[in-house]
Symmetry: C2
């Protein structure tokens, strides 16, 4: 049983930390992007060094006070907000935002957990390198949270998830000890891979304080096209065609169902639409090529082949970086439009590539049987990752569907599971999907996770209730 983060605990802790480290938990720390939960906390600790993190965790361990590690606050599954139980201490890494090292020729940088993703991207670019993680919240999300949740985004197809981009981590374990693991190595087979265990554990096994991250050569030339496809199956065949022609040169491949652009024209008419008539399905193909290949010519040739094979019905090839940015702006604006419309339920699912078209074919009718709803299906189709979001019928309010919500979610998740998919592709479990983890993940795997949690955090102070539930 945990104790609350109360005045006595804070007073004792404050004496051991530099002034200003402990702060009141103001509103921004207690809300989350979708407004579904409101958290609580006794205070926010903002340490400036790994030693201070160690002191804070040690004190919390001694007093059995829960700690909620806090990054940029952009998580969508409630991993950063604890709504019930004894009030925890929020541990924000925002002041640990130093770039400790950048080695362009070694292809690595070392960033503290509080670094904002966009700043890391910019530092890499300034050194003529690429840090390829890219996602909508990159201006706010921090490295620690991105690692804790193994974030994905639009570059995964080519460069992998956050875990694939990390060579080493420094972390504070539940007993306050510091695990020094900032190796800058491509290969290291000295024992169990604790880096991969901590990445994606959402702050429940340790607090990541810094990481060494991989940098890549910047593609010499970039290009993009929006291509209308007759179906999701055609989108996958188009991807195979593109990769057969261009290999890793295909940097991004996003499926966009018609509902997204229709929402945009309704609530964000300033977003430029590439086609006069919104198509049912289109894909955004993004290329990053070597200097000797011309992206526009390659896209034209790809489109030609695709059209001949019946995989492409129409297309626009970006004639400039500005137009490429416009295509991406449309893609990135879809979640904003979704928020303005107000979803009944949002799903972040992944499927084996071969099962993806079947899933889409069957999910619509299954939801239709529950009621009249609109579906916005889009996402990182090359990774088998769909954001499958469900909205009220035109003219109806979200509130009218609140009672249906559990059934909607259950229907989508059961179907995903039946195809061997995952009900959290890239957002994590947090507190939103703890019941899903019990329901859909192999019971031996869940028991193994529990055994690891008990071994590494026996008192359960680290992000209580996240991932494995209460």
């Amino acid at each position: 049983m945990l104790s609350p983060c109360d005045g006595a605990f804070l007073q004792a802790l404050e004496a051991t930390l530099p002034e200003g480290t402990l702060r009141p938990a103001d509103d921004r720390y207690l809300s989350e992007p979708r407004g579904r939960y409101r958290g609580q906390a006794g205070a926010v600790a903002c340490p400036a060094s790994v030693d201070e993190v160690s002191a804070i965790v040690s004190a919390a361990q001694a007093a059995r006070v829960g700690i909620v590690p806090y990054g940029g606050g952009t998580g969508l599954v409630g991993g950063q907000v604890m709504t019930g139980g004894p009030a925890p201490l929020l541990l924000s890494l925002e002041r640990m935002n130093a770039l400790r090292l950048i080695e362009p020729e070694g292809g690595v940088l070392v960033a503290e957990a509080g670094c904002i993703l966009a700043e890391v991207q910019a530092a890499a670019e300034a050194a003529d390198r690429l840090f390829p993680l890219s996602l909508g919240s990159e201006g706010t999300a921090r490295i620690g949270g991105l690692l804790g949740t193994n974030a994905g985004g639009t570059g995964v197809l080519r460069w992998g998830n956050m875990r694939d981009l990390c060579l080493g981590i420094e972390a504070v374990m539940a007993d306050g000890r510091v695990m020094h693991g900032l190796k800058r190595l491509r290969k290291n087979n000295m024992g169990y891979d604790l880096r991969h265990l901590l990445i994606g554990s959402e702050g429940t096994l340790g607090v990541i304080t810094a990481a060494s991250l991989r940098l890549f050569p910047r593609p010499a030339r970039t290009g993009a096209a929006m291509i209308v496809v007759p179906s999701p199956q055609a989108a996958l065949s188009l991807l195979a065609l593109a990769q057969a022609r261009l290999g890793e040169g295909v940097s991004g491949f996003e499926l966009i169902g018609g509902q997204g652009p229709r929402f945009l024209s309704e609530v964000m008419p300033e977003i430029r639409q590439p086609f006069a008539q919104i198509p049912d399905w289109m894909v955004l193909v993004d290329l990053g090529l070597v200097a000797s290949l011309d992206p526009a010519a390659e896209l034209e040739a790809l489109f030609g082949d695709a059209a001949e094979a019946g995989l492409a019905l129409d297309g626009v090839i970006a004639s400039s970086e500005a137009q490429r940015a416009q295509f991406w702006r449309l893609r990135e604006a879809i979640p904003e439009a979704n928020r303005k419309i107000g979803a009944v339920a949002s799903h972040d699912v992944s499927l084996p590539l071969a099962a993806l078209p079947d899933f889409i074919d069957r999910a619509g009718p299954a939801l239709g049987a529950l009621g009249d709803m609109r579906i916005n299906c889009f996402g990182h189709v090359g990774d088998g990752n769909l954001h499958y979001n469900v909205f009220p019928a035109p003219g109806k309010s979200r509130d009218a569907y609140e009672a249906l919500r559990p059934q909607v979610i259950g229907t989508v998740h059961d179907l995903v599971h039946s195809f061997g998919g995952s009900v959290s592709a890239e957002h994590g479990v947090g507190r939103l999907k703890t019941a899903d983890l019990q329901r859909y993940v192999d019971p031996v795997a869940v028991a193994t996770m529990r055994a690891i949690k008990s071994a590494l955090d026996p008192a359960g102070i680290l992000n209580p209730g996240a991932v494995l539930g209460g």
Copy 2:
């Protein structure tokens, strides 16, 4: 304390298994490639299904009998041979060698642990896909062992280690329960990543019985060159140049010190040498390009730029696949030549790329201070991974150096560690490097590994003594 795998245990176990599952432990299971250890075992179990593996592990758990999981027997660190303590049961996965599924369009296959790597490569090729793990022992090494040790090889630069190629695993845990995790997903953030924990744990946390593996498009065109470089630093600069020009098209980049070719000319004169005079340093550059790029032309252009920058002194570009194969034959023959010469000590180390030239500069003199020795330094330089092997001076026997051996190893490993490197890049810890793990790995990390081992295998039956020692 474990019990020996004795007659009573075997008799009881035999009654629960199909006839022929238990076999005598003949010599091939008890030796290892470098002939440094000889193992012992009460018997070898060769189950044909995951249920039989489960029954065997359950029985061993109940009787507290140690189990040594056995793949192809090619490991170089003694992970597969238990030399002391109560005789274990060897658990060979060789009969679990079915390819359960191949989905070329989904980019995935599911292979049982006993599949031989070369067979998996061939199955992928037959489906016009690439399974890119490639290493010298690919005709013998099995998928389970390759996962257990997170094997590397020559394709890591472009496609990653074995762990990067695995999407999911099925494993039998220490209590005999089966963990069903054969997901075929690119993205899955549902809880702790147990796949990455089991991969590289060398059979000490669970017995991997099957895996879903990633397939890739086959590069349309391939090419290779041998390029003489003035120094290891120049090799790294040449790699950066090649990657800036060709991105992921650089599929392999191997450094070859002069000693390897000199050994070849001495003990394997049938191997064709690319240069009349053996150079001190050369690199094997391997390309896998898209159809619209010509490998020979790209290599010529690369060589021209490199020569101008002082990074290339001489070069041969393969004019055919046969010549490319010849280049690779030379590279792959070096370990064979090493065995014929007889090493004082072999090291599988990795370094931050930026530190690699300094390491090479300093290691030679440090060893020279110990005695008169020859050094064969070669390896996957793009991964920072060197096989840094030490040999007797000409005319001297390996036995004369036996007393020096610990000092040689200590000197190399201490130097690697001082540069932030790893003393096992791709071979693992096994039983050979358990003391190194205690010495060089962060103590909090080691304590965390022990806590995990105790939680998942409290009786210590799985590969006793490997990785974490006795």
